[in-house]
């Protein structure tokens, strides 16, 4: 009798059931694993810049860091999206497009990935193809407001008013507090030759957001077209010389932190300084300094931020280094002059500014630096003359007019001349709040209260929520 081990065993019915159950379990497990694998995001290569060797070193470093985060967790669409955003923030649109498309494959339910992939296409630029993608996105995600904004904006670019109108209507329904909806509807009517119909839409856009400059500009065109020229002039001035204002979304708001090109960072730092955040500007620039230790523009901007932060001494050393390499450089000399004024060394500041003005007589900022130093020395008449030279170099600059008027009035007690200069400033820019304020204060000072009130009324139209309006109101309210 063969041993059980040596002979094939005939399965009993119970064993057969167990085997069948195990087989079924195995099959089910296999199916589950297969399904799981199928549902997992695909393993895609990490998008790399086309010419890494030519990249700015700071940007290259940033991209490498983000790419290694992606490599650490290659199925994480959020990390891929961050990398894509970094490409986009630095103008590497082909790479951004590919990286966003990868996110789309990994997270097809994320509309922002498709939105930004289409934006990258638009920046290529391929407006027609981008519009098609925006429209498809809006169809697939009909409640996703940014998609409708993009459809409207892209359609307007291509002159397709019908599509633009329906998109902006939908945007207005989905996001009633978004000014771009009524502004888009106003623009559609303006382009269709119906300025009268455009007006209420544009006024509604500005009621939502008074700072929406494109809406002001569109309103100005509509007002001009219906013959309301004076109002048009102000509205056009309020909206003029702006930049593109795409509707922000959760991803685009993160883009600035990934801007690693030096010119962008210098601009960011300047903006931060103007907004009263020189500490943040310094922090940003210090980060760039590691990669560009000798860049004269960066060193100068660091000194500017140091001046704004009340630490002019720190900037002086940097400026000395720049000027030692390039004694003819004008910008660092101007910055140095400002630093010296802050340090109470006005004579030195004046010498520095004069040299800048001599080296570059057509640079308004050099003359402004001269004026600044002369004012510190209380040589006011000469300061006014320096401001006039600045105006010769930049005659359409309304801000310089306001500076000159201030000196003429407050320092030289020449109110009539100041009024004349302020009038020129307001001709150049009827929306300039500081000019209205100066004029109103001056009128009140000379006892012309009626004129001051008229100026206040103008300022209420031009800048209804501005500190200048508050100041003028308070001044006029004083006995």
């Amino acid at each position: 009798m063969p041993s059980p081990a040596s002979q094939p065993r005939t399965p009993t019915p119970s064993r057969r059931r167990i085997h069948g159950l195990l087989g079924a379990l195995a099959a089910a497990a296999l199916v589950a694993v297969t399904l799981h694998l199928a549902r997992r995001p695909p393993l895609l290569p990490v998008v790399a810049p086309a010419r890494p060797e030519s990249l700015d070193p700071q940007l290259r470093d940033h991209l490498q860091r983000l790419a290694s985060l992606v490599a650490d967790s290659p199925r994480d669409p959020a990390r891929r999206a961050t990398l894509a955003l970094a490409f986009a923030a630095n103008g590497l649109w082909p790479e951004a497009r590919q990286a966003f498309l990868d996110v789309v494959r990994m997270a097809p339910d994320e509309p922002l990935a498709r939105l930004h992939a289409a934006v990258a296409l638009q920046e290529k630029p391929d407006d027609q193809a981008a519009l098609a993608e925006f429209e498809a996105l809006a169809r697939d995600f009909p409640n996703f407001a940014p998609a409708w904004y993009r459809v409207g904006e892209a359609a307007l670019r291509l002159g397709n008013l019908t599509n633009a109108e329906s998109a902006f209507s939908r945007l207005s329904q989905l996001a009633p507090q978004e000014w771009r909806g009524p502004a888009g509807l106003g623009e559609v009517r303006l382009r269709a030759g119906k300025p009268g119909e455009a007006l209420p839409f544009l006024e509604r856009a500005l009621a939502i957001d008074r700072s929406a400059r494109p809406a002001h500009f569109l309103l100005g065109q509509a007002l001009r077209a219906v013959g309301r020229t004076n109002e048009a002039r102000i509205a056009l001035a309020l909206g003029a010389a702006t930049t593109r204002h795409p509707m922000p979304d959760g991803w685009s708001e993160r883009a600035p932190e990934h801007m690693k090109l030096l010119p962008d960072q210098l601009a960011q730092a300047d903006e931060l300084g103007r907004m009263g955040r020189p500490d943040l500007a310094l922090q940003l620039l210090q980060g760039a300094l590691k990669f560009h230790p000798d860049h004269p523009g960066l060193l100068n901007q660091l000194a500017v931020a140091s001046n704004r932060a009340g630490r002019p001494q720190q900037g002086l050393a940097l400026l000395d280094a720049v000027l030692a390499k390039d004694p003819k450089a004008v910008a660092p000399r101007i910055t140095r002059s400002h630093a010296l004024v802050l340090l109470g060394r006005a004579e030195d500041a004046l010498a520095e500014a004069r040299r800048a003005a001599t080296d570059s007589p057509r640079t308004a900022q050099a003359h402004l630096a001269v004026a600044n130093a002369l004012l510190a020395l209380e040589r006011d008449a000469e300061a006014a003359q320096a401001l006039r030279l600045a105006l010769d170099a930049d005659p359409a600059n309304a801000d310089i007019h306001v500076e000159l008027a201030s000196v003429l009035w407050r320092n030289l007690s020449d109110a009539p001349a100041a009024v004349e200069v302020l009038s020129k400033a307001l001709q150049l820019n009827p929306a300039l709040a500081s000019a209205h304020l100066q004029l109103g204060l001056l009128q009140q000072h000379v006892g012309d209260i009626a004129a001051a009130r008229a100026t206040l009324a103008s300022l209420e139209i031009v800048a209804p929520q501005s500190p200048e309006l508050r100041e003028l109101r308070q001044a006029i309210a004083r006995p």
Binding site: P57, E187, Q221, T243, R244, G297, K328
Partner: protein
């Protein structure tokens, strides 16, 4: 000098007509009207330098330092220097702005021998400039002797050359007082004060010198040319008033033109607000454009912001390059068409009773322009179907993500837009590789160089050979050209002409100094489709009462002299 015997002047109310001199024996002259040419057929054929003799090679003097002027240079002018009825060609070279490798520009003048052949007459003509960096030119008869003169714009001193009537020119810059010594780009001869003498409007770009050059980058940090806004140094335009004695006076300040500066590239002239005085429109690069409205008292006011042609519809400044004043919708008003940077799209400012609207339509002349950086441009009816077409010379100023030409990262295709109706155009695809081959095109001059009645093109390429693109559109309709003259036989500029033929009306303005740094055929060209003649032509002269001429026979060049037509009502 060769004067054509074939020009037969017909005095009288019809003005004068002349057959096209030197019909080209190679190309059948004036084929009979037929169906519109298919888009696959070439409209232009590049005539190789070995055949044409137009062997100019432009040099921007690039040395890898990315000096800004290297990117913008390259203008071209058409001039009938010896009044033989054949347009000669002035090619404006760059030179070098690198102080370490100085080189004077080698501008060259080519005399048209007929049959689309040219010979270099630069030395004989003495159009030689020993220094500076060349940008463009304007052609015009500044001394009123009926012979065209030359003004060359440069970074450095500009130069005015007076035509001596014997194939040679005299450099009269100093005597005339028009040197400027800035970075001049486009210029235009125009009689702004209607005194019968052509004044000179000179556009300046930025206040630049090698000392203020800086390092700029694009596309993730690749070294590239800067934007003009990096320099913060816009320059004022200059206006010279012609005293009528061979000299000019600088009236810039008196005219009020020094009150606003700009990064100026292109200039267009015309009476944009309909007040009877000639105005100037300046296309600025990355700054608001200027519309200098002539107040009629020697003063100008920039009213572009209020009139709606300073910025785009959203208030954003664009990079204005070339500009023409052309009635795009063919309804009797001068619109403004401006070429722009990649991504911005070329812009049409539609004239609405003196105000302008930034118009974008799916089938407008701006359609399809977004991927390109436009410079020179010309509206002309290339296929004579009574609908103006458009050619735009494109070439990048910044690196792009792709590179159509492996040898030049700034090269891209130029574009041809076929007119399909008033204000409507479609991009012609595959219209022959010659007009789509990548290049870094800058200036463009349009004119009938072979006198076959069709408008040819001369396109200047930065750091490349000039391209002579001969019009070979196979199914051309009929045409006629008008040579406008004042009573003294001098070229009459800025006249607005309406031509009635075949039941339709077409509008043109005689303003050859426009586009980008270039000067075009001074004759007005019309395609009239199947019509046998122009039934009537109404000329609204800049300095004389409107007149009516005609009928005028097709397939001819007609000379219309002010004072010889029938009185026409003002409109």
């Amino acid at each position: 000098m060769r004067r054509l015997a074939s020009i037969a002047t017909l005095a009288g109310l019809l003005g004068a007509s002349c057959r096209p001199p030197h019909p080209d024996p190679v190309t059948p002259p004036s084929p009979p009207p037929a169906a519109r040419s298919a888009t696959a057929e070439p409209w232009f054929q590049r005539v190789p330098p070995s055949v044409s003799g137009l062997d100019f090679q432009h040099s921007a003097g690039t040395t890898g330092k990315f000096l800004m002027p290297e990117m913008e240079t390259g203008g071209v002018g058409l001039i009938d220097l010896d009044k033989d009825g054949l347009l000669d060609v002035l090619c404006v070279d760059g030179g070098s702005v690198d102080p370490d490798i100085p080189r004077a520009p080698s501008h060259r003048l080519f005399h048209n021998l007929g049959n689309a052949r040219f010979e270099d007459v630069t030395r004989k003509a003495a159009v030689v400039i020993p220094s500076g960096f060349g940008m463009g030119c304007a052609i015009g008869d500044f001394d009123g002797d009926t012979w065209p003169d030359i003004y060359v714009t440069q970074l450095g001193s500009n130069h005015l050359f007076r035509n001596r009537h014997d194939g040679t020119f005299e450099d009269v810059t100093e005597k005339a007082g028009v040197a400027v010594n800035s970075w001049s780009t486009s210029a235009a001869f125009v009689d702004f004060d209607a005194d019968g003498h052509l004044d000179l409007f000179v556009v300046n770009y930025i206040r630049w010198s090698p000392a203020i050059e800086m390092q700029c980058f694009s596309h993730g940090g690749r070294r590239d040319y800067c934007s003009p806004v990096n320099y913060h140094a816009p320059a004022p335009t200059v206006l010279f008033r012609n005293r009528g004695d061979g000299t000019f006076e600088d009236v810039t300040a008196r005219a009020g033109l020094d009150r606003a500066y700009g990064n100026g590239f292109g200039v267009a002239t015309g009476d944009f607000d309909g007040n009877g005085h000639l105005d100037f429109y300046v296309a600025n690069d990355a700054m608001p454009n200027q519309l200098w409205l002539n107040q009629g008292n020697g003063r100008f006011i920039d009213d572009a912001p209020l009139r709606g042609c300073a910025l785009n519809a959203l208030g954003i400044p664009r990079a204005g390059m070339g500009v023409v004043a052309f009635d795009v919708h063919q309804r009797g008003a001068l619109d403004l068409f401006v070429t722009h940077l990649v991504g911005e799209g070329n812009g049409l400012f539609l004239n609405q009773a003196g105000n302008f609207l930034d118009v974008v339509t799916p089938d407008g002349p701006m359609a399809g322009s977004s991927p390109y950086t436009g410079f020179g441009l010309a509206f002309a009816d290339f296929d004579h179907d009574a609908l103006p077409d458009l050619y735009v010379a494109n070439g990048r100023v910044r690196l792009g993500a792709d590179q159509p030409d492996p040898n030049d990262p700034y090269a891209e295709a130029s574009t041809l837009h076929r007119g399909t109706g008033p204000g409507r155009f479609t991009v012609v695809a595959g219209a022959g590789e010659t007009n789509h081959a990548p290049g870094v095109a800058r200036g463009l001059a349009a004119g009938d160089l072979d006198n076959d009645g069709a408008i040819d093109l001369v396109v200047m390429q930065r750091n490349g050979p000039v391209r002579f693109l001969r019009n070979v559109a196979v199914a051309r309709g009929r045409w006629l050209m008008l040579q406008l003259q004042d009573p003294a036989g001098r070229e009459a500029r800025n006249a607005m002409v309406s031509l009635h033929a075949g039941g339709s009306v077409q509008w043109r303005q005689s303003s050859p100094n426009e586009g980008y740094c270039s000067s075009n055929d001074p004759r007005l060209h019309f395609g009239i489709g199947n019509a046998q003649q122009a039934d009537r032509v109404v000329v609204r002269w800049a300095r004389h009462a409107p007149e009516e001429f005609g009928p005028l026979e097709a397939q001819r060049i007609h000379i219309l002299r002010a004072g010889t037509g029938r009185p026409a009502p003002k409109y």
